[in-house]
Symmetry: C3
Subunit: 342 residues, 3 copies
Amino acid sequence: MSAGHTLGEIAARFGLGLHGDATIAIRGVATLSRAGTGDLSFLANRLYRRQLPTTAAAAVVLTEADRESAPCPALVSRNPYADFARIAALFEPPVPIAAGIHPSAVIDPSADIAADASIGALVVVGPRSRIEAGAVIGPGSVIGEDCAVGAGSTLVARVTLVRRVVLGRRVLVHPGAVLGADGFGLAFDQGHWLKVPQLGGVRIGDDCEIGANTTIDRGALEDTVLEDDVRLDNQIQIGHGVHVGAHTAMAGCVAVAGSTRIGRNCLIGGAVGIVGHLEICDRVTITAMSLVTHSIRQPGEYSSGLPAETSASWRRNAARFRQLDTLARRIKTLAQEPDHHD
Amino acid sequence: MSAGHTLGEIAARFGLGLHGDATIAIRGVATLSRAGTGDLSFLANRLYRRQLPTTAAAAVVLTEADRESAPCPALVSRNPYADFARIAALFEPPVPIAAGIHPSAVIDPSADIAADASIGALVVVGPRSRIEAGAVIGPGSVIGEDCAVGAGSTLVARVTLVRRVVLGRRVLVHPGAVLGADGFGLAFDQGHWLKVPQLGGVRIGDDCEIGANTTIDRGALEDTVLEDDVRLDNQIQIGHGVHVGAHTAMAGCVAVAGSTRIGRNCLIGGAVGIVGHLEICDRVTITAMSLVTHSIRQPGEYSSGLPAETSASWRRNAARFRQLDTLARRIKTLAQEPDHHD
Amino acid sequence: MSAGHTLGEIAARFGLGLHGDATIAIRGVATLSRAGTGDLSFLANRLYRRQLPTTAAAAVVLTEADRESAPCPALVSRNPYADFARIAALFEPPVPIAAGIHPSAVIDPSADIAADASIGALVVVGPRSRIEAGAVIGPGSVIGEDCAVGAGSTLVARVTLVRRVVLGRRVLVHPGAVLGADGFGLAFDQGHWLKVPQLGGVRIGDDCEIGANTTIDRGALEDTVLEDDVRLDNQIQIGHGVHVGAHTAMAGCVAVAGSTRIGRNCLIGGAVGIVGHLEICDRVTITAMSLVTHSIRQPGEYSSGLPAETSASWRRNAARFRQLDTLARRIKTLAQEPDHHD
C-alpha cells in the first residue's frame, strides 16, 4: 500500500476538500516539523499551529479555518485528526498473519477454534474456550477455561485470559495484559485473611482496546464489564465488578477499585485513582493524577492533581497545608471579630 | 459441588445460626440486588443495607443486628463476609489440574520437581529450582535459577520467578507477576550509571497472594521479604530489600521503594506511594493515593490524597496553594499586628 | 569468583586506598548491620553512618571523611557506592547462558541471529528481526517484526518487543517489559473512537536498563527514543513519541504521556506523572508522586507530592483546601481594607 497515492485519490477516497495540485504523489505521513517531499501531514492540535507556515510537507490535512496558513496543498476536513488516521492506515506496513494453528501451540481438545482463526506460536488454549472467525491469538498468549474471543479480535502477543473472559468482536489486546485474574476479595477472620471466591467473569464489548500490561479482574459475584468501544491505555488496573460505559477512554496507569460504575463517553486522565463502590455519570472528564473519592453525578471536568513547582517553594507551601485548618479558623476569627485584637 | 445444598446443611457445616426453613435448596450465591430463587446472599457492607428488605434471595448471611430486616431465611454470623466466602467456595467451578510435567515444558536436569506437582504447558524451570508437593506451575511460567515453590502453591499462568525466589506454602501468584528481578541499584560515576549487583533474593511466606503484573525485586544485599499471609493486589511494585509484615494487605498499584520496612496488619490503599528507607509500624492504615515520606511510628490511619472537585474550582484553589506560605505569613501579620494597617 | 579475595587484591584491582591489614580474606559483601567475618561492607548513605562504629564487617569501603569512625580495615574511595558496586560484582553468582538456539524456540526464517547469541527456551523471533553478537534472549520472550537487539544486550525472560524496536548494545530488559506496543492514539469521530495508526518505532540507546513490566510504546509518526544510559525501574509507562535524554533515571511507576521530551541527567522519582507535549530540560530532579503539567526550563528540583499525615488532621485540612480561594480572597480583604469590618 505504501507505493503511494495521488493527493486527488486520497481526497476522493475520504471525501475531503482538495485545495491545490491533485496529481502530487503522497508516499508517506509525517509531523508538520519533520515532513518532507512526498509526505502528508496534518494539523489537529493548536499547540502545533505555529509549525504550519513553515512545514515542508507535500500537503496537509486541516480545517477550513487553518487553510489560509498552509504553504502547500491542503485537504480540508471537519475532523483532521480522524481523517489523518484513516489516511495513515494506507501507509501502515502489513503484519503477517497466518490462519491456522501453529504446531507449537497447545490446544485443549474441548476448545473450539474457527478454521480461519490464527493461533500463534507457543499459545495455550484451555478447556471449553472458543476462538471465533478471523481472530488472531498472538505468540505466547495463554487462554484458560471458558473464555471466548470474538470474530476479528486480536491478542497481539503474551496476553493472558485467565478464566470466564468473553471478548466481543474486533477487540484489540496488547501484550502483557491480564484479563480475568481473581478479584482482590478478602475477609479478615480470626487473625488471618480468608480468600473470597471470585465466581464472576469479565465481559468486553465490541471494538474495545486494552493496553499493554493492563489488568482487568474477574468479578466476585457479577461480571466485570467494559461496554462497546471502551479504550484503555497501558498499565491500567480495573478491579472486580467494575462497569465501564461505552466510548469511555482511559489514559495510562489509571486505577479503578472494585464495584465502581463509570458512565459512557468519559475521559479519564493518566494515573487517576478512583475508589470502589462509586458511580460516575456519563460525559465526565477527570484530569491526570486526580483522586476520585465520591460519586460524580454531573457531567463536566474534575481535578485534584497539584502541579509541581520548585521543591523549595513546595516545601514551604506543603508545610502550611498541615496548618490549613488552623489558618482558616484564624481567618474566620479575624474576619468576624475585627476588634478582637484591638 | 454446585448441585446444591440445603440451607440446613450449610448452617451446620459452618456453624451458623439458622432462622427459617432448613430444607430450602441453595443452588448459587449472588448479591442482594441480583439474587433470585435458590440464591444465597450476604450483608457485610453497610452501603448495601438498604437493599436487604427487598432482596429476592432465598436466604441471607448477616449479623444478628440485621436479622430482623431480612425478608427471607437468614444465617446469622459474627463475620458474614468471612462465612459467605466459605460458603461461596462450595459453588466455585473446579479448575482442571493434572499432576505431572506437560511434555512441552522445558525442565533443567538439576531441577527437583515433586511427583505430584503440576507443571503446565510451555513452562520453563531452571537450574537447581525446586517445586514441592502439590504445587501448580501454570502455563507459560518461567522459573529461573535457585528458586523454590512451596507445597500447595500455585503460579496461575505466565508468572516469572527470576532468581533466588523462595515461596512458602499455599502461595498464590497471579499472571504477569515478576518476582526476583534485579533491584534498581545504580551508582553514578564519572558521568555514567554503574549497575550495583543485586545479590539478595526474595522470600515469600506461607499463604501470601500476589496480584497480576505485580513486581517484587530481589534485594541488593539482603532479601526482599513478605512474611506470612501478606496479600498484594495487582500492579504493585515492591522495591529491593523491602520487608512486609504478616497479614498486611495492599490494594492495587501501590509502590514501595527500596529498604522500607512495613509492619504487620497494615492496610495500604490503592496507588499509595511509600518512599525508601522508612519504617512503618504495625496496624497502620494508609488511604488511597497517599504519599508516605516519613516513618510512621504510631498505629492509626494516615492520608494525603486530595479528593477531586470540579476543575474550575480546583484551578482556583490550586493556584492559591502556590501562595499558601505567603498567605500564612500574611495571616500571622494580621493576627499579631492588628494595628499594622490602621 | 566467590572463593574469596584478599583485601589487598581488591584495593589494588580497584585503585582504592587501603588502611589496615591487606591479607585479610573477603568472602562476601553485606550491609553494615549484617556483615560478619569475611564480609566487606560500605558506607555511602548518611542514613547508615550511625551503624559504622559497631559494624562487625571485616572491612568497609568509605570516604576519607568517614575513615576515622571505622572499627576495622577500610578501603577509601571518592565514590564508595560505585566502588562497592564494582567489588560486589566479584561475588555475583554466574548465570548459566548457553550460546545457540534452544530447540523449543520458534524462529522466523528471515530472522538474522548471530552465531554466538543465546536464544532461550520457548522464545519467538519474528520476520526480519536481528539478534546481534553475544545477545541473550531469555526464555518466553517474544520478538515481533523488524526488531533488532544490539550486541551484548539481554532480555532476561518473557520480554516482548512488538514491532520496529531497536535496542543498542549492552541493553538490559527485565521480565514482563513490553516495548513497541501501539501508542494510545485515538480520534473521536461520529460517536466512536477511531484508531490512529502507530507508524513509528522505539529506539533504545546503548547501556539502557528497562525494568520489569515497564511499557514503552511505539511512536505514531516519530520514534519513541531513549538515548544512551537511560535507566528505568519497574512498571514505568512511556507514551508514544516520548524522548528521554542520556543518563536520565526514573524510579518505579513513573508515567510519561505522549510526545513529551525529557532532558539528560534527570532524576524522576517514583510514581511521578508527566503530561504530554511538554519539554523538561537537562538536570531536572522531580520528587516522588509529583505531577508535572507544564514544561520545565530551569534545572533544579521540583515537587508536588503532599506527605501523609493522620487522617483526622488530613480531613480537616483537605476540606479547607476546597475553600482556599475563598480564604485567600478574605485575607486580601482583611489586609487591604483593614477598616472594612469596623
